[in-house]
């Protein structure tokens, strides 16, 4: 076990680097992957495994923690440390690990049910605290493992096993929810877009604090094609805003862009009409989350029109764990506590 661990972790907020050259397959385990053939989770797993070496971290200092769900089987397939915990609690468990072990790179894998239904409270609290976690939320808009009930991200009116006449709940927009919960980093990407997935993982890994990455994932058994409009080459470019820091926010095909409305909202206009200079330039580092929030509202949860993908928000805020460790260090500046003195206290008497 690395030096750092033994001695109550002097506040070095630093994960040991690997001393060997790593490749994707170094992160594969001997376990049979048990997802359905065609599941979007395979693509994400492959993407993550091929990205990992870029971190250049000692494998043993990387930990994957998940809840329960198809997506949450993820840790079994990563040859690092890992825990497949209980439904919805991964952010809480990971927080306890991350804040006490600054020498670890802690990743959370969760699903739209795991993170937003039963686990909603732990997620929003992890976000506001800004614990140093990277949370990958596999959003397939369905409960996969329990065989197809609607989830908190399912569109209104969804007919599922538990809603034969259609669901009534207005869905969460995970990006909006995260921004409302004081998140310092929020991004969105798609299982099938390896390049964008990798870029997004990179940005998340670079961020200090909690990074939430929503990954649109296809469940081909219970909610097949949920994200097809954003995938098929005929439409995706006219439906997707790709957020790039410092770039005007336009659809991938460049046809339309985001503008400011007189009433303070954001709107969408033909670039040709308004001219590229009128188009809002993306600034993920804007300390005010309002614009990122407004961007998260552009998309239509039914048609998926105007869906922004990329990094919505990425601002610097001290992570909970660094502050946590600093308080410890500060308290011990003048030396460690003396147990005998503590037990004795001040108000004692002798019996002879």
């Amino acid at each position: 076990m690395s030096e750092a661990v033994d001695l109550g972790f002097p506040s070095l907020n630093l994960v040991p680097k690997t001393d060997v050259k790593q490749s994707a397959k170094d992160f594969k385990t001997d376990q049979e992957v048990r997802w359905c053939p065609g599941c979007g989770d395979y693509a994400i797993l492959a993407g993550v495994q091929s990205f990992m070496p870029e971190l250049g971290l000692a494998k043993e200092n990387i930990v994957w923690i998940s809840g329960i769900g198809c997506s949450s089987r993820f840790p079994y397939y990563m040859d690092t440390f890992g825990m497949h915990s209980i439904h919805g609690r991964a952010p809480a468990i990971a927080s306890g690990l991350a804040m006490t072990r600054p020498d670890l790179s802690v990743w959370v894998v969760t699903g739209d049910g795991d993170a937003l239904s039963i686990g909603g409270n732990h997620l929003i609290h992890a976000l506001r605290r800004n614990v140093n976690l990277k949370i990958l939320l596999f959003n397939n808009r369905i409960y996969g493992l329990t065989k197809g009930q609607y989830s908190p991200t399912s569109e209104v009116g969804k007919v599922t096993k538990s809603t034969p006449m259609g669901s009534l709940d207005y869905p969460f927009n995970p990006v909006s929810l995260a921004l409302g919960a004081e998140a310092s980093f929020v991004a969105r990407t798609i299982d099938s877009d390896r390049k964008h997935l990798t870029e997004t993982l990179r940005a998340a890994a670079l961020h200090e604090g909690t990074a939430l990455v929503e990954i649109y994932q296809n469940c081909n058994i219970f909610n097949d094609g949920a994200w097809d409009p954003l995938k098929d080459s005929d439409h995706r470019d006219s439906l997707t805003f790709r957020l790039v820091d410092g770039q005007p926010i336009t659809l991938v095909d460049g046809s339309r862009g985001v503008i400011r409305e007189p009433n303070g909202s954001l709107g969408i206009a033909d670039v040709a009409e308004v001219g590229i200079d009128a188009i809002l330039v993306h600034d993920a580092h804007n300390p005010d989350p309002s614009v990122a929030f407004a961007l998260s509202r552009l998309s239509d949860s039914m048609t998926l029109a105007n869906t922004p993908i990329g990094v919505f928000r990425d601002v610097a805020r001290p992570s909970y764990d660094s502050a946590f460790q600093s308080q410890l260090a500060l308290a011990q500046e003048s030396g460690r506590g003396d147990l005998a003195a503590l037990l004795a206290g001040s108000d004692t008497w002798e019996i002879v």
Partner: protein, 618 residues
């Protein structure tokens, strides 16, 4: 004029007033002085769940009882010899417990018609003779205090707030308590408010000299120090002892202590205390709820910390599922349950022992968890260390079952020698532990120590030990997911065998005459009352044996043998018979359950009666 001094061997005093009258503080101070004076003592605070229940009402009464003596005592006492009643509500609420002849110190200023009617006195008990069978000391505490503080530039209202110090001064004189400690305490408390400080000290002294001078008190009482084992002592509350026990255990284990907790009465003070000790590397995390509290502790334990979570009954209920995960992960974890009145929100500030079966069985599936219980405020220290020993040695969650009475009560505590504390160092896994047929080696997370059946504690950051664990059933040894029927049966039995195999100290029996035919068996905070009751019984020449369980799961190896020695076994509990059920079911002994669920500790008197009846019946 100096007064006659009368020697007493023991006294029980109860301070009672409004939630706002500072009775708890007054009691605490009197206790500290009494402790440092060298008496043995035991205390019982009793206050409402509201922060400041409305003034002058019965629900608003806050009381503090102190029992101190020149010999060792075991309980805060049944009935007070002295009641200090700051207002009519305090009098009314406490009369019931007062034996005839008791001293009654009454703050007459508050006995206005309005105040009296508010609690349903149609006549003033001070006048209507209803108190004739007590020795009443009517004293205008409030106005005397105000008078004493004339010199100070403070509002009458502020001056009045010092009346508890006047009362403290008076009783300090009456029982010849040392006064220096009180001054020091006040100096610290009001360091930033010199005016208030001076006023409080003045009030305190006024109370003292009032005692010296007034005709009303013709005698001063003296209670000689008790003869206790030699050593350095301090007064110790249960929650503090428990907190210190955890810190001490962490030091001895050389593990950083991590507490994940969500505030709840009466456990919150442990969180408060531990949060002060970052100097010891103690990490405290106030989580968003109980589930996150235990969840973060599991995460920390996975990372090699000494993971602890503290709560009370309702919080334990919420943690149930996560505790089951800890059972399946086989990670060390200490779950502190400071029991309070239930069910549901119940009686948050009262004591009870009704979480034993929840701790035993409150999880899905076969999920055995060891249970350790302290028997007195000071004993919370040792019990905490024992809980940590079991958790780290056997890699298992452990329940530490305290209760509200232990948490807030206090007693003199012999300060332990640090080096005498057990060595709790653990070894993390550092290398492969399994060799395949082809000679290659692997790390098997569920390969057990043949003796303890504990699995290796392999923390992230350990090169070559990368592995995955989870709450799904695992195949024995290698730890991969397994749905195999025989493997599941094996794993269920292994987890049970590990807990059943925990080595715990034998059950000790206190049977002075050696010819007792009745055994009184208890656990937790009933130790004091049972012990005191046993003494009373024995004083009458009746033999009775007492045994007290520190370990509720597993039971000590000699339990069956001990139970077998007696014709009858009585089990008094502050619940409806939870230990009794376990003892009967496990050992088929027709144990007699004596139960009370009143939110208060047993009275020794009453228990003595129960024991005598049983003895008589054999």
């Amino acid at each position: 004029m100096s007064k006659q001094v009368v020697q007493l061997d023991r006294v029980i005093i109860r301070f009672a007033g409004d939630s706002g009258d500072g009775m708890q503080l007054t009691g605490d101070q009197f206790t500290s002085r009494t402790a440092s004076f060298g008496n043995d003592l035991s205390t019982l605070p009793d206050f409402p769940a509201e922060i400041r229940a409305p003034a002058g009402t019965l629900p608003g009464v806050s009381a503090f009882q102190l029992h101190f003596a020149d010999h060792d005592i075991m309980t805060p006492g049944d009935a007070p010899n002295v009641l200090v009643a700051m207002n009519p509500a305090a009098l009314k609420a406490n009369m019931r417990d007062l034996p005839r002849g008791a001293d009654l110190i009454i703050n007459t200023d508050e006995f206005t018609t309005r105040a009296l009617t508010k609690v349903g006195y149609d006549a003033n008990p001070l006048d209507d003779g209803s108190l004739s069978s007590y020795s009443v000391h009517p004293i205008p505490l409030t106005s005397l205090t105000v008078q004493a503080l004339k010199g100070f530039d403070m509002s009458k209202k502020d001056a009045e707030r010092a009346k508890n110090m006047f009362a403290l001064g008076l009783l300090s004189w009456l029982y010849a308590r040392p006064t220096e400690g009180t001054r020091t305490f006040l100096k610290q408390k009001f360091a930033k408010k010199p005016e208030i400080l001076a006023a409080n000290i003045a009030a305190f002294e006024a109370g003292w000299s009032f005692g010296e001078t007034t005709e009303d008190f013709s005698v001063q009482y003296e209670i000689k120090p008790a003869t206790m084992p030699a050593g350095r002592y301090r007064n110790m509350h249960g929650n503090l002892a428990l907190s210190y026990g955890l810190i001490a255990a962490a030091e001895r284990a050389e593990l950083p202590l991590f507490l994940g907790s969500y505030p709840i009465t009466p456990a919150s003070d442990i969180l408060h205390e531990l949060s002060k000790h970052k100097k010891f590397g103690v990490m405290t995390f106030q989580a968003e709820d109980e589930i996150a509290g235990v969840g973060s502790a599991i995460g920390a334990a996975y990372g090699g910390m000494l993971g602890v979570t503290t709560t009370s009954g309702p919080g334990v209920a919420l943690k149930s599922e996560a505790i089951g995960l800890a059972v399946s992960l086989e990670l060390p974890l200490v779950i502190v349950d400071v029991q309070r009145g239930g069910p549901s929100t119940g009686l948050p500030t009262k004591t009870e022992q009704s979480d034993l079966l929840q701790a035993m069985f409150g999880r899905n599936g076969e999920a055995p968890v060891p249970i350790v219980a302290p028997r007195s405020p000071g004993d919370c220290f040792d019990a905490a260390i024992e809980a940590v020993r079991i958790a780290t040695t056997y890699r298992t969650p452990v329940f530490l079952l305290s209760d509200g009475y232990l948490a807030n009560g206090s007693e003199p505590w012999l300060i332990p020698d640090v080096d005498s504390l057990p060595d709790l160092r653990v070894e993390f896994a550092s290398a492969h532990n399994h060799t395949n047929d082809d000679g290659s080696t692997e790390f098997w997370p569920y390969k057990r120590d043949p003796e303890t059946l504990a699995r290796p504690w392999a923390v992230p950051g350990t090169k070559g030990l990368e592995h995955r664990i989870g709450g799904i059933e695992k195949s024995d040894g290698i730890g991969n997911i397994s749905y195999d029927a025989d493997n599941h049966d094996l794993m269920v039995r292994l987890r049970q065998a590990k807990i059943d195999g925990i080595t715990v100290a034998d059950l000790e029996v206190d049977d002075p005459t050696g010819d007792a035919r009745v055994l009184v068996l208890g656990w937790g905070s009933t130790y004091g009352p049972i012990g005191a009751a046993a003494r009373r019984v024995r004083k009458d020449g009746i033999s009775v044996a007492q045994a007290h369980l520190r370990h509720l799961n597993p039971f000590p190896a000699n339990t069956a043998e001990v139970l077998g020695r007696y014709d009858k076994v009585v089990i008094p509990e502050m619940n409806l018979g939870q230990l009794a059920l376990l003892i009967r079911g496990r050992f088929l002994v027709d144990a007699i359950a004596y139960n009370q669920v009143r939110g208060l500790p047993f009275k020794a008197e009453e228990l003595a009666g129960v024991i005598k009846d049983v003895v008589a019946s054999v």
